[in-house]
Symmetry: D2
Subunit: 283 residues, 4 copies
């Protein structure tokens, strides 16, 4: 209950680190971890993530937030957030029929490896109900067809908006509308089964096979209105050869998807990921 | 002088391995290495690479070739090649101003790591003359401009066609015409500074930076008339983050290019690479 | 039911490939995949793995085996095995309290990614009973103490010997005696939580932390009487830094263990792994 | 000439970041990059590397150093160093007969990829004289035998002590005595051709082959009186199989050595590496 995190983003300018460090020292907060990055030494964008020890920080977030705005934030034109490590993010997972990404998150979370509460699984199919419920996580089936898409998204939004801090598309095989992404009010992480920007869209393994690539990959990114174009959080690849059939590429790809998505979600839940333009800074 | 290689490609059908192994045994050739692959168990394409020990094979290639055609090759409709490990491929390297790929090949070849003779370096600039000549390799400067491109290619062809077994574009920053590729009469390997098909074309590191990718790569492929679209021989990647500038991405990318190109050239020179459609089988 | 596999090991000598291919062709078996390797071109050890299509091969294994001995095997002094792809290996898994390796195998097997039947889970603790049973796999608790070790192994042998084709130690935290390994009558695969031979024995992550290594790994090997010294089947590593605590190294290591063990088990079940001295040939 | 670096190491305690950032702000230095790490949130060791922009910092190092001691350094019991990015480290390279590590450093340095001046190559053999001199670097041959070892080290020390900031053993096949390491007065980086602590000592590739390992590696570390036991700076591995002979393992290992050593030297020259116990913190 004594560990807090402060993330900051603003135009780079002299004196930021000193001002922030001074503020924290005056408020009895001892910095235990500090990551900082500027995109450029002149006219760059400044990013900082600070982890600090401060007694009862969970109860003092509002006070810190207000003081910081007055003393530091406004002066430097900062976007910033104070969080308490004792309050894990509330996360909803959207899935279709593939189980591997869902199970990886459920299982790692059960082991205590991920800093989050999985509050809900939403699916357009019934298939994975037993998997979710066996971990004690509520499962809601919301069928989606071309005809009812707007209605289905409205029902999803009822469950999600205001109730969760993050939505994870764990191989959810539907495109979320720009309206949904705007209305849901929290970040949405998607896992794509290729090394983006290569093989965006459907059927990446077949395309990879036909192109004879020697590595296949997976990409976790923030979902945006432009499909498969959002800021990339994490990527990884695995070596393949002519020997793997498309089905075997899928199997190997599934393994990469699992670990890439888990890392991206973990970093997000630890407040490590900040977006800038179409890319990310991970501190 | 006693090590030979036989590579075979044909429609898959029963009895190929037995026929080939029988032929070699009857001709006093002992198989020391055999790689085989079929794209499918039915109606697939069959590939085989066989390394064998056979006294004075270097002098018997024509005899083996003729006998094989009569006894095995025609019957199965094979494309096949006999080579002697004692006759390294004659290789020409085309470069512009970047030295890293050229130096990697010259240096590894000097150490005896590559199974080839570098007979010539051709460049559209003078910059790398001293590098090539310090390894005792002739360097020919053929300037290329929009105006003289056809003429320049004609001069390149004079030097290359019939005189080399392989052309390597070691960051040669000109596009070779379809006519050149057809007239040169031997395979052409190109190194592209991205993980194809991502970031084809010019400026891949800038595009990668803007897209926020977490891995950058390089791709060695056979040059075809369609730029950056030929059969891929080898690829690799290296992890990057938001911290690397475009210049630093280039530096790290150069390291990947060096090792990817060297591996692709080595495999080609060992007769390991067979093309099929737009992909490769590497045995 | 028509896919068979033949694995062969013997002293290298001329004519093996031809003899085997001829035998298979005469018996109506069409080779669909062939991997071959010799440790040396002279006086080497010869290894071959052949996958073939042959009608009703599952019912003809004894016939093939007998014919092969008479016509090929004895002549070349071969160790060889015919198997049918339709008969998956019967596998028992031994565990203690760590769940990650067990769950990875259960889950991948349920998805059809592994070519095996998990017939039994044996543990010296009760902790993972629910995990095993939720996949429909019998779980037997056999407590082990210094006092009852011989007795416990005797009970394990009762369940295992003659009933399974493979035992997998999926982080089973007990040392199996030389007597057990000899009496169990089938291979035993172990997963060690380091990149062997570095950090053999207990506490590898603490040792790795103190030594400041930049990569941690996992090793799957066949268990032998010499602890952590058996033939290595597969290894992999993951990059770490000074930032990871010992607990975090364990978490990352667990991920590597899962994929390394799954690959090793899969290769074994596909008859790809042959041992020679203290190393393995994987075809 | 305006970029400075400050590295700090001390017992962790509240207020360090604020004090340092305040000091730099007051001295007109704007932080452009800050890396920080504590080994533990209580009683840990604190490390910080700060890159800052400060006019004419190259001329102001002594002033900054003195002021910092008085205002910050002594108060927190810090070990610290101010350097100017405009003053590259003076580096001597020690080699024997293997050329790959030497050439990698000479070549990368010529391309401007490494932040150092190579002032001298010392070797116990004549073999690599032409390689060094072709890059314009003085080469000194100091033969070493069992009989003259003390004398040879004395001559090496004459050339090195006080004249260089770093010594790199680029496959120098002699053991440097504890006396030498103490008298040379600067850090010594060594490259070992295995993934330490696996296969320490001589002949690692043969040992790796016999053990059947599936990855081989290289380790760059600071040389200490205990052979192959010093703090590790960087490691990497490459995948191998049963197919590679010991000679091929050496070839592949050489590639890993080149990139691992180059990275370690580069990080050292950028003041990124701090040692603590037997491990390193790399910021």
């Amino acid at each position: 209950h004594d560990i807090g995190r402060l993330t900051i983003q603003c135009a780079d300018q002299p004196g930021i680190v000193a001002a922030v460090a001074g503020f924290l020292a005056e408020h009895g907060a001892n910095i235990t971890e500090l990551g900082q990055f500027s995109t450029d030494s002149e006219n760059g964008e400044f990013f900082q993530r600070t982890v600090f020890h401060c007694e009862n920080v969970a109860d003092r977030l509002a006070e810190l937030d207000g003081d910081f705005a007055a003393q530091v934030g406004r002066r430097f034109g900062m976007t910033y957030t104070f969080t308490s490590a004792a309050s894990p993010k509330r996360v909803a997972i959207m899935v279709s029929k593939y189980d591997h990404c869902l199970l990886e998150l459920l299982w790692r979370n059960k082991r205590g490896d991920l800093d989050m509460d999985i509050t809900l699984v939403i699916s357009n199919h019934e298939d994975l109900r037993a998997d979710a419920e066996s971990f004690g996580v509520p499962f809601v089936h919301i069928p989606v067809s071309r005809a009812n898409k707007a209605e289905a998204e409205a029902r999803q939004l009822e469950l999600l908006a205001g109730n969760v801090d993050l939505v994870v598309m764990a191989r959810y095989m539907q495109i979320l509308s720009a309206e949904f992404l705007s209305a849901v009010g929290c970040p949405v992480i998607n896992i794509h089964h290729s090394f983006l920007p290569a093989f965006a869209g459907a059927g990446p393994y077949l395309k990879a096979k036909e192109r004879g690539v020697k590595l296949i990959g997976a990409t976790a990114h923030y979902a945006t209105a432009n499909l498969d174009e959002g800021p990339i959080i994490e990527q990884d690849v695995v070596r393949v050869s002519h020997r793997e059939s498309v089905a075997e590429l899928e199997r190997r790809g599934a393994e990469v998807e699992r670990s890439v998505l888990a890392r991206a979600v973990q970093w997000h839940c630890e407040d490590r990921v900040m977006t800038y333009g179409n890319s990310t800074t991970i501190l």
